[in-house]
């Protein structure tokens, strides 16, 4: 359990974000965000509650909501599209998540752990998901219907007329240049820093991979230049 001072600091970090005033104008407590929220239909999560806690600066309840509730949001932003006051509850949740990571909250680590595989896939292939990830034992929370896609994926993918989609380890081919540009973006926007805070082992693996890819890219550029010289 955090001290009050720590909880206050977490709130100050949320409020200090440059997007905060844009996403929060006040609250009419009309409930249209929660009414329209897909996650609120299934989880103990209410965008109006998040907005109300932030607006009333309830640092203890904000800290409590960051343990689990904020991770139920699907970031669909329907709340922002409907709010008559033009708040963005989903945008506020995004800020809270980033602050949870910055503070290395255990809850954030627990929630994000299952996504490590997705992150690895994303960094190594440029795709978030690939056909070979859709297996009954990989995502038990996807329910029993996942078995409907079981089968010889290699053969099934052959049925797709687009050549670049006939892969199993990736959803589609991503070029080396695009991958390297993505690494730069992730680095500069703090994604890799966040990863390091959440999962050091995974970060090490990914960092090695990125270094390797960047070398490959340098080599490729040199080859191109040599070819041009010839």
């Amino acid at each position: 359990m955090a001290t009050y001072a720590e909880m206050q600091q977490i709130f100050d970090d949320i409020r200090g974000d440059f997007r905060y005033d844009h996403d929060l104008n006040g609250c009419l407590n009309c409930g249209i965000c929660t009414a329209t929220c897909p996650s609120a239909q299934f989880y103990d999560y209410s965008p109006r509650e998040i907005v109300q806690l932030l607006w009333t600066e309830n640092v203890e309840q904000i800290y409590d909501a960051m343990q689990e509730k904020i991770w139920a949001c699907a970031q669909c932003m329907t709340c922002a599209a409907r709010c008559p006051f033009k708040n963005s509850p989903g945008g506020l949740v995004a800020i809270m998540r980033e602050v949870a990571i910055k503070h290395e909250m255990q809850s954030a680590k627990d929630v994000l752990r299952p996504f490590g595989r997705v992150m690895l896939k994303l960094i190594t292939t440029g795709n978030q998901l690939s056909p070979d990830m859709i297996q009954p034992d990989h995502f038990p929370d996807w329910g029993p219907n996942i078995q409907k896609v079981e089968g010889d994926l290699q053969v099934l993918r052959k049925a797709i007329p687009v050549k670049t989609l006939q892969t199993v380890e990736t959803a589609w081919e991503v070029s080396l240049k695009t991958s390297v540009e993505m690494y730069t973006i992730w680095e500069m926007t703090g994604v890799l820093k966040s990863l390091e805070l959440m999962d050091e082992n995974l970060f090490d693996v990914i960092e090695d991979f990125i270094d390797e890819k960047r070398e490959d890219y340098e080599d490729w550029l040199e080859e191109q230049e040599e070819e041009d010289d010839e």
Binding site: L28, G31, A81, P84
Partner: protein, 349 residues
Amino acid sequence: MQDTVLVVGGGPAGLSAAANVTSAGYKAVMVEKEDVLGGAPILSGYAKLVPSGEWASEAIGRMVKRVEDDSSATVHKGAKVEKLDGEAGNFTATLTNGETVQAGSVVLATGFTHFDSINKPEWGFGTYEDVLTTTQVEQMVASGKIACPSDGRVPERVCILLCVGSRDRQIGREWCSKICCTVSANMAMEIKELSPETDVFIYYMDIRTFGLYEDKFYWKSQEEFKTKFVKARIAEVTSSGDGRLLVKGEDTLVKRPIVIPFDMVVHAIGMDPNADNPEISQVFGVGLEKHGFLERAEQYTNTCGTTRKGIYACGAAYGPETIDDSIAQGAAAGGRAVADLHALVQKAG
């Protein structure tokens, strides 16, 4: 022509202004763009008025008759002012019917336009037959029968959604339309009176039955007519497939999302600036405030003023207004108009 006041608009505010002008011994010329006088209460067929409980046709009808029978008042119906020349004390208005009017002052009683519910498609108006507006239900009440338009059945459950076209930044309407809470509480009672087996629910963000409307409408509708008030702004209205409507919201006091079936959904539509205001602003040379209503002059010593000397305004032209207050403001604007003409004559004499 320092004995004549031009009154633009023949609703409650304009009718009141014209009557006050002639009572003071001056002449009134009224210009109304529609073919009948009476304004929104008559044109939209309102039922019983708040707070008097009198039928609109009778109450506003008396105001119309008073002006039409007045030998000092001239009425041009089906006409607009297309040009205004001159200045305070000596205006010349050219009407679309070819006539010209000489007047010393002008009173703008140009009113408002009902919000068009088509602009909030997620609330089902225009998609489902049984989604109606308050003006449509006013007409239904006036006809004496509450029925679902889709199949004519008497609804078991009716809900009224407040703030449709009001207090909504998403559609650029940041104002409260002032009257809808009281009108809706009144309507819930009227529905229950006509159809005792029908239950009425009102979905609200805040209840603004201000002043004496609190107990006469908000409390009474609950205590005597069992109207249920739910604190929720509705997200969407859909169909259940069995001919009923589904209303989705969050009961913000119970704090969970809810989906409730209804037979009829009523939009408590708000008051937009008159759709003609850009034209009115140009023809009369008066400013509009940020929402698009007429800009009010300094209120304390230039009451009922606009941004142009000699031109006054009243009622819903300034912003959402009740009928009673529109009438009072009309009388005030008419009074200002003749008082200023009187002052001009004194000065000249």
